[in-house]
């Protein structure tokens, strides 16, 4: 059983590496020779342009890590081979600990790969102020958990994985907070807030989670804009907005569902942008901006309603005029 798991994990790590190796192998040997050369930069750009290849920054970081660990030659093949054996060696050491844990417990302590990745990424967040959103932060995080820094091989998407993990974590924290508030209201222990206030508080709470990382947040935002990260980041954004509206009490089943979410997405994104360049104490400018945007949306909704009721009144007036006209001309009589 343990051997099977070991094999599976090694297989997965190798597949992740395989992705790196699969990248234009023709350019890789050249790359290693002229590491800071123009061709390497071109290859790097080419790699990053491809949507489902891992960013070659991870392969060059492999390089760096490997250099840091041992004074081997700077050949891509050698480093990749060694990186392949490194996680394998590391894999061999890990099942040993789970053996110990297993003892008589039949492997209940076995952790899935997703859980392990989550743990590493959470640990890596601590190093983000220092290293930015990068593989270095992930490697440092892995090291604090007692794993080899080569376990970064698990993360095909590198910094993107880290940013997406952080965003998912923030979203679930917000959902917990909103659910708790909702429960308080239902138990009658708190007053229900007005929708505008609720939205403002929810967006503020969510954006405040970025404050510890605000220096490097522009980097994170640009990582999220990379083509291969866009679907995931949009998905996180849409679940965030859906959750906020749900707890704000929205139960619409028509076009309002879409317009409300679109409005809140706009508010959230613009406020986030204001926040990254805000230097006022405690981001007061950002919260003022948020207040104003929400007020705009409220005004727009009120205006829309007014326009609709005016329109209806006008139509009624026209119908009345038409009927009067028909009566006057005698067209309404049945002959």
């Amino acid at each position: 059983m343990a051997a099977l798991l070991r094999g599976l994990r090694a297989g997965r790590a190798l597949r992740g590496l395989g992705g790196v190796v699969a990248a234009p192998t023709a350019t890789k040997p050249q790359c290693s020779g002229l590491r800071r050369g123009f061709q390497c930069a071109a290859a790097r750009l080419q790699d990053e342009a491809k949507s489902d290849k891992p960013p070659s920054s991870s392969s060059t970081t492999y390089h760096e890590h490997y250099q840091a660990h041992s004074a081997k030659e700077d050949t891509a093949a050698a480093s990749q081979e060694d990186s392949a054996s490194d996680p394998a060696a590391e894999e061999a050491s890990r099942p040993n600990t789970s053996y110990q844990d297993q003892g008589g417990e039949q492997g209940e302590e076995y952790e899935t790969e997703e859980q392990l990745q989550a743990r590493i990424l959470t640990a890596a967040l601590e190093f983000v102020p220092q290293h930015g959103w990068s593989m270095e932060a992930i490697a440092a995080g892995a090291e604090t958990l007692g794993l080899s820094s080569a376990s970064t091989g698990m993360f095909n998407n590198g910094a993107g994985d880290l940013v997406l993990h952080f965003i998912a974590q923030c979203n679930s924290q917000l959902t917990e907070i909103l659910a708790e508030q909702h429960k308080q209201v239902q138990l009658g222990q708190a007053e229900p807030k007005k929708t505008a206030d609720f939205l403002r508080d929810a967006v503020e709470t969510r954006l405040r989670m970025y404050i510890p990382y605000i220096e490097s947040w522009p980097q994170a935002m640009s990582i999220l804009l990379l083509p291969h990260n866009i679907p995931d980041s949009l998905k996180h954004l849409s679940t965030l907005v859906d959750d906020i509206w749900y707890y704000a009490g929205d139960r619409s089943t028509d076009m309002n569902w879409y317009t409300k979410r679109a409005a809140l997405t706009g508010i959230y994104n613009t406020t986030e942008l204001v926040m990254v360049q805000d230097s006022s104490p405690d981001f007061q400018d950002t919260w003022n901006f948020l207040d104003n945007r929400i007020q705009d949306v409220v005004n727009m909704a009120t205006t829309a309603k007014q326009v609709q009721s005016t329109g209806e009144a006008v139509v009624q007036g026209l119908m009345g005029a038409a009927v009067t006209l028909k009566n006057l001309t005698g067209m309404n009589q049945r002959r």
């Binding site: 229900p192 007005k194 749900y246 929205d250 139960r251 089943t253």
Partner: protein
């Protein structure tokens, strides 16, 4: 799981949804259970979402078709008959609105399109006279019944016990639609000129609408 129990206790009146500056009123539902079981994984959620979304779109469309027919034939002899069928469709739509709200299902983005298309179909078929309106009813109701039947089959194949309440709702609605279909036939639907052409054209349109509403 917690969310599901909260939603079960949360009944949101559709009239109040527009107001952004209103306080959020909390009303307890009379039901203690939910028609749809909380999904176990994202695959099941997606399947249920599709089913509910397309059913909601279907009832919304049927509603608009009858509205179109009433706009033309409202004051004729068939007015009360069409009104009765329309009222039943309104009840179906209300039920689906409730279910969608409870289960946080996204409604189809094409609702405005179905609004206009449904009304246009209803009105234009009614312009062909009472028989035309009945033929349209027959075609649409046959499509919808077939569609509900395939959903019932799919849910029964998966897990009839888990989806008991949902199956009950769909079966009840399917029976209502079959009744409308039979009513249409009784009232000389087949005597309209070009019946075969009209029926097949409408049914093709319905199939396309169902296919698209499941996805968009």
């Amino acid at each position: 799981m917690q969310r599901a129990t909260h939603t079960a206790l949360y009944y949101w009146s559709p009239m109040i949804r527009q107001c952004l500056t209103c306080r959020v009123p909390v009303q307890l539902s009379s039901r203690a259970y939910s028609v749809v079981p909380p999904p176990r994984d994202s695959e099941e959620k997606e399947m249920l979402d599709r089913i509910l979304r397309v059913d909601h779109a279907g009832e919304y469309g049927a509603n608009r078709i009858y509205a179109g027919q009433m706009a033309v034939l409202g004051r004729s002899r068939t007015g009360p008959l069409i009104q009765e069928m329309w009222d039943q469709e309104k009840k179906h739509l209300e039920k689906f609105n409730e279910i969608l709200a409870e289960n946080r299902v996204r409604p189809t983005a094409l609702l405005p399109l179905w609004n206009i298309a449904g009304f246009a179909l209803g009105a234009s078929s009614a312009l062909l006279g009472k028989e035309g309106a009945m033929a349209c009813t027959v075609a649409v109701e046959e499509s919808i019944s077939e569609h509900y039947n395939s959903q019932i089959r799919a849910l029964m194949e998966k897990d009839p016990e888990r989806y008991t309440e949902l199956l009950q709702v769909i079966k009840e609605f399917r029976d209502d639609e079959m009744e409308h279909h039979d009513t249409g036939l009784e009232h000389d639907a087949e005597t309209v000129p070009g019946y075969w052409l009209l029926k097949n054209a409408i049914q093709l349109g319905c199939k396309a609408a169902i296919y698209v509403s499941e996805r968009v």
